[in-house]
């Protein structure tokens, strides 16, 4: 990884040395046999292909529901996923990876796995796929009837991708920015972006051999007051980076903010922007779909109130016609959900998706304005990023984060500037009290100022950090805008 970072397609042959090192980094790596894996994918029934199911949903104008779920033990994980498909009526299945694996700490993951088996309950917060290895993971693919995706939060997911894709997973979440900035403290962006170029190149290899694997940049980032322009910028950059490595099926994500119009506008603009910047790079053969995440920040403890939050997400997903929705559970504020609570969240959501499947959020001037704002802000960020990167998004992303031109609120990474201060306006839309070094035009700056001044007037207090604190606690306390107590 010595050369200057660029978005150019990695040379497959040159990559082989690195692949050998990656596969050697944990014992299960030697189970990977790419040729055999391609063969296995070709023999999978088409209903088990994630990308295909997304395309069908998109064409039919439907929104699919997908939970998050993962436990340490293989058999328990199969049972959990089966339950979510039969009792939860999930349309798509996940495999959420534990946090040790996400930090490449396979030894600790092994310890957690062993102890989980001993105690008969999961001590890990997810499924340690690397430790399980290719043959074991394949049992998931074989025993379950729905397409499966790997969901995690791993800055360096090269080995995880090698193993799970060889096992037959047909979708893989993450990206060099979205799985670093919110999920790491000390990993340089150059490193994670490069590691994810490897992953995307691997997916590209499968594509070259007729196997379409879906890739999904992680939209919500820190899940906490992330304005659409921030997550859209990251999504578009990761989309371009992935496409350049040969990825053909991309699902772009956005985490619910809570203002219905802003959320619908966000879902609508996401593929527009991606399309635009992909076309600038001359890329036109990528299938774009969207994913809406039900509220990713702090939840209310109370289950009925949690159902309310989940349902608003379901309504928004359906009315915005996102291709899929990632579902929260009524246990969100209590801990990793039981399978029953997880299934309950999906069923509440599906009731709404079904009831609203024939309805669309109506076109109107507010929606148009909100779209314009998002488009303008995101373009300002992306164009500046390209400028910093001398036309290259990989390089540009690194420099943009350095400069605070992209800046994710509440992110743990030292490579994130952390200078912005997001807060809700008087209608609950997420705006900026302080935009740090986001390259906003005078006009956009005035817009944010005016929006927060309006809230300040209404609340009879001066705009400031107290807005942010109150907004962080608000949904957990049953509100959207954190009004003064």
């Amino acid at each position: 990884m010595a050369e200057q970072l660029s978005s150019t397609k990695l040379d497959w042959d040159v990559l082989q040395e690195e692949r050998q090192a990656v596969l050697a980094s944990w014992e299960t790596g030697n189970e990977v046999d790419l040729e055999e894996a391609v063969q296995f994918h070709h023999e999978l029934p088409p209903e088990k292909n994630f990308a295909r199911k997304l395309t069908q949903a998109k064409n039919a104008g439907l929104t699919l529901a997908q939970p998050r779920a993962g436990v340490a033990d293989l058999r328990s994980h199969v049972e959990l996923l089966r339950y979510l498909s039969t009792e939860g009526e999930a349309d798509l299945l996940p495999t959420t990876i534990d946090s040790y694996t996400r930090q490449n700490r396979y030894e600790e993951a092994q310890r957690g796995l062993d102890e989980s088996r001993k105690e008969g309950r999961s001590l890990l917060n997810g499924f340690p796929a690397v430790n399980h290895g290719v043959a074991n993971c394949r049992i998931l693919i074989e025993e379950l009837d729905l397409p499966l995706q790997v969901r995690h939060g791993t800055p360096d997911a090269r080995l995880l991708a090698e193993i799970t894709l060889a096992a037959g997973f047909t979708a893989f979440e993450g990206g060099g920015i979205s799985y670093n900035i919110p999920y790491a403290k000390n990993v340089p962006l150059e490193e994670s972006i490069r590691a994810w170029q490897y992953v995307d190149r691997l997916v590209g290899y499968y594509a070259e051999h007729g196997v379409i694997i879906n890739r999904e940049p992680f939209g919500p980032l820190t899940g906490t007051l992330v304005a659409p322009c921030i997550s859209h910028s990251v999504a578009v950059i990761e989309a371009v980076l992935a496409a350049k490595q040969g990825v053909k099926s991309l699902t772009l994500g956005y985490g619910q903010c809570g203002n219905l119009i802003q959320d619908v506008a966000a879902v609508q603009t996401l593929p527009v922007l991606a399309q635009e910047y992909l076309e600038r790079e001359g890329i036109t053969d990528v299938e774009l779909t969207t994913v809406f995440h039900q509220w990713m920040g702090g939840f209310p403890n109370d289950e009925p109130r949690a159902f309310g939050v989940i349902s608003l997400g379901g309504v928004t997903a359906a009315l915005s016609k996102a291709t899929k929705v990632i579902v929260k559970t009524p246990h969100e504020a209590l801990g990793i959900p039981t399978k029953e609570a997880n299934a309950a969240g999906i069923r509440a959501t599906k009731q709404l998706l079904n009831m609203l499947r024939d309805q669309v959020f109506p076109e109107c001037s507010q929606l148009k304005e909100e779209r314009e704002i998002i488009l303008t802000e995101t373009r300002q960020i992306l164009d500046k990023t390209l400028e910093l990167g001398e036309g290259d998004f990989a390089l540009g992303a690194v420099r943009a984060f350095q400069a605070g031109v992209i800046d994710v609120p509440f992110a743990p990474s030292v490579y994130n500037a952390g200078r912005t201060m997001p807060a809700r306006d008087n209608n609950g839309a997420v705006r900026f009290l302080n935009w740090g070094s986001l390259p906003f035009s005078k006009e956009i700056q005035e817009f944010h100022k005016a929006k927060l001044a309006e809230r300040a007037r209404y609340e009879e207090r001066t705009p400031g950090f107290q807005f942010v604190i109150d907004d962080i606690y608000a949904i957990g306390k049953g509100m959207l805008v954190g009004r003064p107590r």
């Binding site: 946090s99 040790y100 996400r102 930090q103 700490r105 600790e108 310890r111 957690g112 102890e115 309950r121 999961s122 001590l123 890990l124 917060n125 939060g153 919110p182 999920y183 790491a184 403290k185 000390n186 820190t222 906490t224 920040g297 702090g298 403890n301 246990h331 504020a333 209590l334 801990g335 990793i336 959900p337 039981t338 509440f410 992110a411 743990p412 950090f465 604190i469 962080i472 606690y473 957990g476």
Partner: protein
């Protein structure tokens, strides 16, 4: 400033940063000298920071469910470093899933924590206790 120094951090492979930032702000507002190690903090880093800053108490957060594994030996590490009786707090989502709270509390007390707090503890819920444990009035 009340003269007391606290070391703050999220232990293990845990990256939940929001509560940590809010805690820092709230504890500073309450007059403490706060040394915030952020997320992904190892046991070693906690101990070293406590020594370096002559901390009066260490506040460990764990949100992601692995605290059971991550906290084993933490009290012993402080003992080894000669800080055996430093005040140790922990709070967050300490186990995987929603387990009976009394069991979880006992488990972490046995690990050597002086106070153990359940999920969704607000700053105002524990700061009075912390002040009392540190011998600050009211």
């Amino acid at each position: 400033m009340n003269g007391k120094t606290l070391v703050l951090g999220v232990i293990g492979s845990d990256v939940h940063a929001v509560g940590n930032k809010i805690l820092e702000i709230a504890l500073k507002e309450a007059g403490f000298n706060v040394v915030n190690l952020g997320v992904l903090v190892s046991q070693k880093e906690f101990v070293e920071a406590a020594i370096e800053t002559s901390a009066d108490a260490v506040l460990v957060s764990s949100l992601y469910g692995h605290a059971e594994i991550d906290c084993r030996g933490l009290r012993e590490a402080f003992v080894e470093a000669g800080l055996g009786d430093i005040i140790l707090y922990i709070g967050g989502y300490l186990v995987v899933g929603n387990q009976p709270w009394e069991e979880t509390k006992a488990k972490f007390e046995a690990l050597g924590f002086d106070r153990v707090y359940p999920p969704n503890t607000l700053p105002e819920d524990f700061i009075p206790q912390l002040r009392a444990d540190l011998g600050l009035e009211g």
